[in-house]
């Protein structure tokens, strides 16, 4: 792994028009191919931080201090896949459009690349023959299309804003597996935002815990989870409700 970070966030401060500080003086850096988790509850500023990295702050929020430095492009996967897709445009067409503009290829090549991407993300082959609207796909399939849209930009950094929160557990598992294997294959770095510590722990090598716009604790995933210094981190750890171990299949028959 090269030592030069692909993304540096230095004492970033975001504030609302009313001068209320929403994100206060946070700093982190991301190395090539690394996954970093931002965890915290609603209102902790984790999504705003992602949007600041992308340069897509919502109206009324301004960057009042600090800097975001990045040499590579980034793309985002949003929480609500149906909200992120154009409901009036079939998905292959949507994806081909992004490929056409971002990768500067011909229309025909764009379509081929789009179909390859969709196949890689495990969408049904029938899309080759008949394009479908987002409403004709399931939530999990829509999220795969959204991930394909992000990857069509060939990002150096993939920003994920609670990409599995709106999905069922089995679908969540598939999406996480997909993201992990794509990361191995394509080598992008990732910032993963979630309130579920268990998901973040499985995906990320480093965690940053955010509360009310500030980073209260950060560190290597395992050591952070084993020796949390801040009571808030401990509370988040405790909030992952425990399940007993499943007995192995066949041990009962």
């Amino acid at each position: 792994m090269s030592t030069e970070p692909v993304l540096e966030v230095e004492s970033l401060t975001l504030a609302a028009k009313s001068k209320e500080i929403l994100v206060n003086n946070i700093s982190f850096s991301l190395a090539r191919g690394e996954s970093l988790g931002l965890v915290g509850e609603s209102g902790s500023g984790k999504s705003l931080t992602l949007r600041a990295i992308l340069g897509l702050l919502p109206r009324g929020v301004e960057q009042t201090g600090g800097a975001v430095r990045s040499k590579v492009s980034s793309a985002m996967v949003f929480q609500d896949p149906r909200g992120a897709l154009d409901p009036l445009c079939p998905v292959v067409k949507q994806l081909a459009e992004v490929v056409y503009y971002r990768q500067q290829v011909s229309r025909r090549a764009a379509r081929t690349i789009a179909l390859e991407l969709l196949e890689r993300l495990g969408l049904p082959d029938s899309l080759r023959k008949k394009d479908r609207y987002p409403s004709q796909l399931s939530g999990g399939q829509c999220q795969r299309v959204v991930i394909a849209l992000a990857l069509a930009c060939k990002p150096g950094i993939l920003l994920c804003d609670e990409p599995t929160t709106a999905l069922d557990v089995t679908v969540q598992r598939q999406i996480i597996d997909t993201i992990t294997s794509l990361q191995h294959e394509l080598g992008f770095a990732m910032v993963f935002v979630t309130h579920n510590l268990a998901i973040a722990a499985n995906l990320c090598s480093r965690l940053y815990v955010m509360k009310q716009g500030q980073i209260v604790e950060h560190g290597e995933t395992l050591s952070l989870l084993q020796h949390p210094a801040d009571p808030y981190t401990q509370m988040l750890i405790d909030s992952v409700l425990p399940l007993p171990e499943l007995e192995l299949e066949g041990s009962r028959q």
């Binding site: 557990v169 598992r173 996480i176 750890i237 399940l243 499943l246």
Partner: protein
Amino acid sequence: MDLALQVRDLTVRYGGFTALDHIQLDLEQHTTLGLVGESGSGKSTLARVIAGLIAPDEGQILLGSQELRKKRSREQHKKIQMIFQNPDASLNPKHSIRQILSEALLFHRIVDRSQVETRSKELLSRVQLEARSLDKYPHEFSGGQRQRIAIARALSVEPSLLIADEPTSALDVSVQRSVLELFHTLKAELNLTVLFISHDLGVIHAVSDTVAVMRQGKLVEINTKDQFFVRPEHEYSRELLSAVPKMPQ
């Protein structure tokens, strides 16, 4: 054990789509049944049919020994109360907490008009809210507090069955924990019978005595909590359980 609720061969169709397919379910008195399933599996439809919000196409529902028909009496309506996922949508924003609580108390003639204030305060303390909250409006509370008010309202009419449809899914994890603890205390204090619906298996594990799993309108497994989480009988239950993200050890 006495059965609080029996569901016999219940079928509901929306047009050509079968939302509930011959559901058989027994709920013992003073226990909590956790109902799990993915979106579209029919959990909420089942809850709504039991609460009388949707009329079934076939089948029978017995509350205690009484059959619940399409037209229910005021008394029958009172006995089944429901808590919804989103407390923002289930509390009238233009009513103060006093109005929200007293409306149910007066409609079902639980107490005399003169007693309403005392009873409302009792209910609030039961869900760990201060008595002076009575004159506030829903928007002045946090999401978790609003869900507590919805719980207080459901409990105010002394129902024999409480249906909770994803009551913690819209809440932050720390708040979820305190609401679950409240369910725990209430269950112990009031001997409640609860049908608790959730897609979150961790939540189900924390509250249930029995677990029922639904998939595509069918009930695929009913088992005791201890059996279900360690030795599920159905393939699909196993799939669900193994998909839950776990903390690394």
